[in-house]
Symmetry: C2
Subunit: 374 residues, 2 copies
């Protein structure tokens, strides 16, 4: 019996290895990506988050939050979503599920709020999901000061390893705000989930500086993800014409916009700021010229695509493609573009609990698609 | 008078700065690259080298060496080129001009030579250019052993900072040769220009190893350039299906082919070798999936494109594009593709003495084009 068991173990190992190799081959060959449309007729979907039971929350920019079954076939509209100021680049933006959701049922929404005069700013709501309704809602962050522009709101929501919450923002279309530490615009925010500011934020108790700011000099951040090994937050941001950047967020650092950038002014193509590098300002890990218009970001750590483990995926609105970045530590060593023109403007990319990649397309009839090896 | 001179100096400085800024803007904006066709009806041109007086030598794969005037309008056929074994990927390949050409009139050609049985291998000829003829020709390198395959010959010729000559090769379509140190195939060669082997080559006086080999484990190297600051030789090589690599050549190092690669087998898409990384084998600085089929390489150090200074340019046969890699030290921080589909398969790219970029297209009616800001 012992010998039989050993033989069986061996043969199972061989089968596993063959299966793994087949998966690798499928993933690497052309046209080998299986694309399933789980849900269509989504109205400019923006953010996607999984509940522990496999169901999904999908935000639509116009202000609707949907609760989808794990196979995407059933959808309910979640009640209790705040009124959002949609229009331009704003509306209902990201959705995130608390790491302790199983205990606290909390979800978080980022969206554009407006005051009575129509001045707008990114806000973050915390609420409990009860059935298909949000209850016990509370606004835990408001971008200050609000302005009339409908551009550059960010935003993504990512939990830090210490259960703080990162909120990515934009410069609100007014570039000099990104260098002003007394202004939330153009920065990365870090708060506790009750809205208070962590004691170890870099600008805490500094006069004329907003304590919630973690890093600044950002133009418009619409993708962020925690590195699965280092626990650091990686970000990308939209450049002007060219100069979209990939960065690692470090406390108190200045990412240079609009003083340094690899981009130029739209249309006229004139230089912006002082050039591409300056002492005291961070260089990007990687940048894109021309702009890909990045949105959404996830590190891949699943089993379905063993060859892509450790890679970083970024959605591209402009080129309607999913960008795969191969990494060697913090160095990008290859860029591949998948799904070119196949689905539409990619707004978000998330790894599902099954190890598949899920993408949302930013279209009037957008889709939720599941990507797996063919 | 002194005050006037100062004012004049200031106004000139302002003019220069405005002109420089205009050039930057033009270079960065879309459609801003001025493309002049200096010569057309070239038959699969392969290599381009400038003489000190601005004239150009252009090799054609079929076996013709052309001498072009600086404006490309006059062309002469150079006499005395050796018989080459053209066919498949072989024929007359690269051409290089000795750094001391003004004194010694020497030029170097790489090409495919065949023995009486039709077995082929890359060879390098040194000759003097007298008027429009090669004289005092001497073969200074022969790939050994020769075989019947018509694939993967390399090759580029680049002078090291110490006036040694680097010759890039391919694995001759027989991948295991790249790991055999008693076989030139699949290696980078370093010799003196008289054909002798430098004393400081890594495998000198080692039994069963070829002394001319500088590095190995290469699949097919068709681009190489000396870094203008570090003096190191940068290389790119064709991968199989995916996995084209960018590397820095270091003495005695193993670049992994075919044991490690980011590519897969053509068509069937099955894995090659053991994976993508292994102890004792080099990781690429950057790689391409899917393959771009790189050919030709130059670092830009001119004044016409100030924003591109320090960048690395690589021709792409497959995507008919000129790839610009932005560097931060030895790290690639951006990839841009220029001229997409505009000219054809780009076989070589060289910076001219005027700071413009010159490219050759690998077509039956190929062109020599000059790129400058619009």
């Amino acid at each position: 019996m012992r010998r039989l068991a050993v033989l069986l173990g061996l043969s199972l190992a061989l089968v596993d290895s063959a299966a793994a190799q087949a998966a690798v081959s499928a993933a690497a060959a052309d046209d080998s990506l299986k694309v399933e449309i789980l849900a269509d007729r989504l109205d400019h979907p923006w953010g996607l988050a999984f509940l522990p039971d496999g169901r999904m929350l999908v935000s639509e920019r116009g202000g609707t939050l949907l609760l989808l079954s794990a196979d995407g076939r059933k959808r309910e509209t979640v009640a209790g979503v705040p009124a959002v100021a949609s229009g331009g680049q704003g509306g209902l933006l990201d959705v995130a599920v608390d790491p302790d959701f199983a205990d606290n049922r909390r979800v978080f929404l980022s969206y554009v709020g407006a005051d009575r005069a129509g001045r707008r700013g990114t806000e973050v709501l915390r609420a409990e999901l009860s059935g298909n309704a949000l209850t016990d809602s509370r606004v835990i962050f408001r971008l200050e000061p609000k302005t009339n522009s409908t551009r550059h709101f960010g935003s993504r929501l990512v939990f830090g390893p210490d259960e703080t919450l990162f909120i990515t923002l934009g410069d609100r279309g007014d570039k000099d705000r990104a260098q002003d530490l007394n202004d939330h615009a153009g920065s990365l925010i870090r708060i506790n989930t009750d809205g208070s500011v962590p004691d170890d934020n870099p600008f805490v108790n500094q006069a004329g500086r907003r304590a919630a700011i973690f890093s600044y000099g950002h133009r418009n951040i619409q993708g962020a993800a925690l590195h699965p090994q280092s626990g650091q937050l990686w970000l990308h941001e939209h450049g002007p014409q060219g100069g979209d950047e990939l960065n690692i967020a470090r406390a108190g650092r200045n990412y240079g916009w609009p003083v340094i950038t690899y981009g130029v002014n739209y249309g006229i193509g004139t230089q912006i700021g002082e050039g591409t590098a300056k002492a005291g300002m961070e260089q990007p890990l990687y940048y894109w010229v021309p702009s890909i218009a990045p949105s959404g970001m996830t590190f891949y750590s699943g089993d379905l695509f063993p060859r892509w483990r450790g890679d970083l995926f970024v959605g591209s609105l402009k080129f309607r493609t999913l960008v795969r970045l191969s990494l060697n530590g913090t160095q990008v060593i290859a860029e591949e573009r998948l799904l070119s023109e196949q689905l539409g403007r990619i707004r978000d990319v998330v790894q599902g609990p099954d190890g598949a990649l899920y993408v949302l397309t930013d279209e009037a009839r957008g889709v939720l698609a599941r990507l797996s090896p063919q």
